[in-house]
């Protein structure tokens, strides 16, 4: 039983996480179906995204779709090869096959990544598939250092962002004029903290006061997410962190309230009392009458014997 519960918890967390990490519009590049050699197989379109999270893992996601009766449908189970620089076996980073939504995910293995340059080129290619025409898609991104820190003062709560990237000499330098959005993670999406994005200053920094009154979980925890979205040079950068800056959720202590609409176990006490009193009263009298009838029968026997 508890195993099942745990598996479920796990499934849920995984699915929540997948949707949160990879879904919201991170597209960087999209290939049109190639119009090369016609083998009669249907063509696909590949959308390749680069996503870096918490300054740590580089993740490539390729979404493969195909045109069916004028709508794009996900291609499930197609295998996608991810390369760096150019297509070739020596440049293969890994292979992944697409899920139900047509998404193939690859966490770029750091050891295979050639660090000769600060710019990377990634290619997602579907090759020699039995059902679909070959297709590939390529994106270029630059190395970056995107960090969010959370600082709590006596009366202030600040979100600090710093974005740096290697300059011509390869030393880290701040990057200005990059739009960063701040969010709070909610169950079904990211809640933007402001209507307009913030922009990094000449120090590559942003400092924002975290607003009060945003609900967190029962401990007040919430997840703050900073994002650089679809940047032409850096791709998608994301930094998220959990902190107890939310208003703690007070779970209704009367959740088992005795109401007319509650379950039978939580029926209002007055109702239980009234109905049982009436039941006992009336059925007590009925039982008494039945007993009296029994006495009639007994009296009848006495006389007869």
């Amino acid at each position: 039983m508890s195993t099942i519960r745990l598996i479920r918890l796990f499934t849920k967390s995984l699915l929540v996480s997948i949707s949160l990490c990879f879904l919201p519009g991170l597209s960087v590049a999209q290939s049109e179906p190639s119009d090369s050699a016609d083998t009669g197989k249907p063509e696909t379109s590949i959308e390749l995204m680069y996503n870096e999270a918490n300054n740590h893992s580089k993740v490539l996601t390729a979404t493969v779709k195909t045109n069916v009766k004028d709508t794009y449908e996900a291609v499930k189970g197609i295998s996608v090869n991810f390369y760096q620089k150019e297509v070739g076996p020596e440049n293969l980073l890994g292979t992944s096959s697409s899920n139900d939504k047509g998404v193939a995910i690859l966490v770029v293995p750091e050891d295979k990544l050639s660090k000769t340059s600060v710019d990377y080129t990634f290619i997602a290619a579907s090759e020699n598939d039995a059902k679909f025409e070959d297709n590939q898609e390529e994106i270029s991104v630059s190395e970056s250092d995107f960090v969010m820190t959370l600082e709590q003062g006596d009366s202030s709560r600040q979100v600090l962002i710093k974005l740096q990237a290697p300059d011509a000499n390869g030393t880290m330098a701040p990057v200005a004029e990059v739009e960063v959005r701040l969010y709070v993670q909610r169950l079904f999406g990211l809640l933007a903290l402001s209507v307009d994005p913030e922009t990094t200053d000449e120090n590559g920094e942003i400092s924002v006061d975290f607003p009060a009154g945003i609900p967190g979980d029962s401990a007040g925890n919430l997840i703050i997410v900073a994002k650089v979205e679809e940047h032409e040079k850096f791709g998608n950068l994301e930094f998220q962190r959990k902190i107890s800056w939310g208003t703690p959720l007070i779970i209704d202590p009367n959740k088992n309230r005795r109401e007319l609409w509650s379950s039978r176990a939580n029926a209002p006490l007055y109702l239980i009392f009234i109905i049982n009193t009436m039941l006992i009263g009336i059925w007590g009298v009925i039982a008494y009458i039945v007993y009296e009838v029994f006495k009639i029968w007994k009296l009848g026997r006495q006389k007869a014997s």
Binding site: R8, S13, S17, I105, F188
Partner: protein, 303 residues
């Protein structure tokens, strides 16, 4: 002063100790799962329920068999949540994609509708508008009050469900609901054969059973997976917002907004508030409409 140093954190994760930071649930799971899953060595970064970033072998991402929610569990609901819906009437042009998606997922058959798109008119001079209606998952549900056998119940997450394994088909709840949200399987419902053998849970409302009541269930099976109800995701115009009142946020797929601000700024209201049922579905009035009204009223009932 609690400042988190990003570098130490980064190193911490890089050293591969990430697993140690995983929530207890996931750690425990590893203990159970280690020998049943063959690790591929390929890792993926994920967010644990506690908000920790963890690296997990991709093997764990393979479809995990659907876990059946027991009837008992489906009576309690998802802890800490209070689901709520907001419907933007200004955006609805009666495309009925919501209706079709709902019908399809719940195998409603030719005569049953959980979700209706009704033509409403406040008075003869006002332009009519389209109003999607479904079960409002009332906080003072008159339908639940009257059920003699606890077959319909209100959960802690606000959702009102029906256990068709318990329902005796008295239909008292149907007459008690002032919104006519409930439907009844008057005859043996027709559905695909594989569905007939599917494990029944009040959370999925399928397979339906003859002689019992059913209605919109807010798709708790989807919500458990972290996905929104079918009507919400099906609507191309973003009419439906769905979310957790405890988080004060609702999302229509494209955007996530604060529930309190949305209702405050756009004068959100509840249908027939004076009934005292306190619905969990709010409407945004059909003002500044995106589309002119076009009368193409629809009914699936053949009669």
């Amino acid at each position: 002063m609690t400042a988190t140093d990003q570098n130490s954190r980064r190193n911490f994760l890089k050293k591969g100790l990430g697993i140690a930071a995983v929530s207890s649930a996931v750690t425990a799971l590893h203990a159970f799962q280690v020998d049943s899953v063959e690790e591929t060595g390929e890792k993926v970064k994920l967010l644990s329920p506690e908000g920790e970033i963890v690296e997990i072998d991709i093997a764990y991402l393979k479809p995990i068999p659907e876990v059946n929610i027991s009837p008992d569990e489906s009576r309690h609901g998802i802890p800490g949540r209070r689901f709520v819906m907001v419907i933007d009437l200004a955006q609805c042009k009666n495309l009925r994609k919501c209706h079709d998606a709902c019908d399809k997922m719940h195998h409603c058959g030719p005569e049953k509708e959980f979700l209706k798109v009704l033509k409403m008119q406040n008075n003869t001079l006002a332009t009519p508008f389209w109003q999607p209606t479904m079960c409002f998952h009332c906080d003072e549900p008159p339908c639940v009050k009257v059920c003699p056998v606890d077959a319909t119940f209100k959960r802690e997450d606000g959702i009102v469900l029906i256990d068709t394994d318990r329902c005796i088909g008295c239909r008292f709840c149907m007459v008690a609901c002032p919104y006519s949200a409930r439907t009844f399987d008057w005859s043996e419902p027709a559905f695909p054969l594989e569905l007939a053998h599917q494990h029944y849970s009040p959370e999925t409302s399928v397979p339906a059973k003859m002689g019992t009541v059913s209605k919109c269930d807010f798709c708790p099976d989807m919500v458990r997976k972290g996905e929104m109800p079918h009507c919400v995701t099906a609507c191309p115009n973003g009419v439906f917002y769905f979310g957790d009142e405890n988080e004060d946020a609702v999302s229509n797929g494209a955007e996530t907004v604060r529930l309190s601000e949305l209702l405050r700024d756009r004068s959100g209201y509840r249908y027939m508030e004076d009934m005292g049922t306190r619905p969990r579905v709010y409407y945004l009035p059909p003002v500044n409409r995106a589309f002119p009204f076009q009368d193409d009223e629809f009914t699936k009932h053949k009669g």
